[in-house]
Symmetry: C3
Subunit: 344 residues, 3 copies
């Protein structure tokens, strides 16, 4: 099951060399697909474009290079860990063992100081992410709901919360722990340009990048593989930005994409990835997107009290609820129709 | 599946009008049963009496009219949302799609300022409650435990926590966020009249009403349908008040019914709704009622830190534990007896 | 099913007396096995040695006598409660209904003042622990994961959090509630003697005893029944102490065993109790042990905010994750091999 398996059977050194090379390419392919699966795309091209957008974000100043490097390291380590843990072949080949590692690798250098200890912990945590991925799959399989980015959220929260106890892990930019208190209304309504900026920044914030150009590249990386998904991600960003402004969220945070990134993932997840896209599904997806904004606010209140960011848990929680509710209704209608009774 | 389904098949306008009227009556019936299901009663009469008690509480000054109006709106919206989501017919007809909406509709105006934005959010949240209800059913079906009022707790907590981030949702009376600190002993032992007052207020607090007369009407609404349930609700209230006073809980909060409302639901849930009422069950129910008081205190400590009330989650958690434990024991004894082995 | 069952059938008073005696001995045996099951040993001898170590810890000053007495009372009450609740015979006989009660009985007098009310609550909570044990078994059976010490953690947290609201339950030594703030580096690297002290104290802290001699007796109690388990418990303690010091944890807390006790349980759980001990398993167990240290730190940050200790929840959470991940991989590989496909 290890990457070397195919090699050991080979007879001549020449074939062995080629097999090694092939195994290396395969591993790279699985890792790049992992970089694409952050936004549900089983495509090495999308993955490569995502990495390009991250390095662009780092170059253009929206994020440190460590975030881009960390995301590549995280994806490599968590994909590699999946081999000795006997992850399901299909999942591994589709990149499903890499996307949580990529996000963790982007998240940890965003919040912790760039030290050797941080990199050691990042690598260990990226390996642990694969354990959590397999555990989440085992636990959630029974309710037929995917683990989404929960493993990344769990492992990153663990490292960030642990940093408060371990001085060798310097905290760079975590939200200062504070009891909840209602924020003041600020009331500056942004123009269209601001609105587009905030929406594109929401897309890039999925990857901890605060840069509208990167956001545009991420959307292009989506169009390559699925126009539905790209369209719904853009819709999610715009709907969330509009909703957050309407209820009076802090406009500066909105501009930096912090109120839209969960919706960028929720809208395609509910609208076209885990449900068939129909007009009916779109209405359901719009409700999920709106809910994600409120869940984001609620979780931000909770996590701020303990000095950590909500990460993408608002997306995970909202999508779990809407997918669970869907199945239930399907089961119910299935059993009703099989009983052959008229609908009323 | 929509309420209009029966209408479309009709030929003459006269029959169509009658069918429309019939569908309207059915919808009202389902909503009123929802108002009864707050306290486990599948009865439109109990539902109507519950609403009457709420409006009485509003009139008599124990609560604002918005709480009574909100509870009706919440029940209507969440019941209506269940149709397009294809909720199970049986559950819909028994009012199981309405009681969480009714509680949410009473809860939100209790804690947030009475503004148009609050009403828009209340309606959206009441629709979301139905999604959470279906999701909870799907997740809990496997362990054969009911969702109870969890969907209401989840959606209301989400809105209240989100209000800290959204200035347009003014906070009217949430508990001020505070780190835990042990309360001082107050030591005034109340007389019998105070004890009865506190117990009846505990019943009315299930519906966010702080009024012993409303509490008495709620009990009458129960007697209509089930004397067992009414008796156990009264027992739960009295046992919780006695236990809370014995361990030194704040007597003012006890008087306002804040230490008894979870037990008012826990006692009938364990004692006669989800288990057959026997002397043995009664002992189990008494243990659950006592546990609910401690779980209430523990959750109050946790939720106060983030500035929200525990709502009925103490009831939900305690009842889940005691129902899960019961099934387990039943399974075990069933397999033991089927194996035909002697008991020792 | 009650302990008196065998008695009622008896005819002569002499046989009845003997049967009573026998039932008493059996009950004592189940309780002592419960004291052994704290560290996974189904052995009354280990249980007796564990109790001896606790009384030694109390005598030598590392803990109050109430901790030792409480642990015996807790084990007796929770084991006795399992009879009327129809716990599975096999689980009862192996002591699986007693170890959570033993830990709760040691934990409550550690944190709360030694008053009559505390003892009443301890007895009620020890009974409640059995309800939670049965509930956890029912909920977790579907994912084939054991409840571990979760019931003890849940019930003890409930009582400690409730104490903040109930002045009759005096708080003796809970961590003062505080928002997270990064601790300063202290940088004193301890010598070998300190290292051994910290490792043995980590073993004794499983039982709330801070005493290296007690730690050594606990290890001897393990060797009696399983050398693998004793070796892995010692490995877990040493690995956790080394890891905590390496990342800069407070050396005073490390010396008192507060950074190692979760790993003392995690290492044998993953390494030899719930998985077959192989070199491969050992690598997995080492990863779990390291993870437990980070999970311990993360949970300590969270629980400190609400003024309670993390207890053994870091062990529970880490072990659940690693056991869930293992099964998943096994299922996957099983289905892959049954499909008869080559591994690549």
């Amino acid at each position: 099951m290890s990457i070397g398996n195919d090699v050991r059977d080979c007879k001549s050194p020449d074939i062995a060399r080629r097999a090694h090379l092939l195994a290396g390419f395969r591993f790279l392919d699985h890792t790049l697909r992992g970089c694409g699966q952050v936004i549900f795309m089983n495509s090495p091209v999308t993955g490569l474009l995502n990495l390009a957008a991250m390095f662009w974000g780092a170059y253009a100043g929206g994020a440190t290079p460590a975030v881009a490097i960390g995301s590549l390291v995280g994806a490599l380590v968590s994909t590699a860990t999946a081999y000795p843990l006997h992850a399901e072949r299909g999942a591994l080949r589709s990149g499903l063992m890499g996307f949580n590692g990529m996000l963790l690798g982007a998240g940890i250098p965003t919040f912790l100081a760039n030290t050797p200890v941080m990199w050691v912990v990042l690598i260990l945590a990226a390996a642990m992410v694969t354990v959590v991925t397999l555990a989440a799959d085992a636990a959630l399989r029974r309710v037929k709901v995917p683990g989404l980015t929960f493993p990344y959220v769990f492992a990153t929260w663990t490292v960030l919360l642990a940093a408060y106890k371990f001085p060798t892990l310097g905290i760079a930019s975590l939200p200062p722990p504070a009891l909840p208190s209602q924020v003041d209304a600020l009331g500056t309504v942004p123009g269209l340009q601001e609105f587009v900026h905030a929406s594109l920044a929401s897309v890039s914030q999925v990857y901890f990048v605060d840069n509208p150009v990167s956001g545009a590249i991420f959307l292009v990386a989506l169009v390559v593989h699925s126009r539905w998904c790209a369209g719904l991600a853009a819709f999610g960003a715009m709907a969330a930005v509009a909703c957050a402004l309407a209820v009076g969220a802090d406009p500066v945070a909105v501009r930096h994409g912090l109120w839209g990134y969960s919706a960028v993932l929720t809208a395609p997840a509910v609208g076209c990835i885990f449900m068939r896209p129909t007009p009916r599904t779109f209405a359901y997806c719009a409700a999920a997107t709106l809910s994600a904004v409120f869940v984001q606010a609620a979780l931000a209140t909770l996590t701020q009290a303990v000095g950590i960011p909500p990460l993408t848990f608002p997306f995970v929680l909202t999508t779990w609820l809407f997918l669970l509710a869907r199945r239930d209704s399907r089961d119910a209608s299935a059993s009703a129709s099989s009983a052959g009774k008229p609908s009323q």
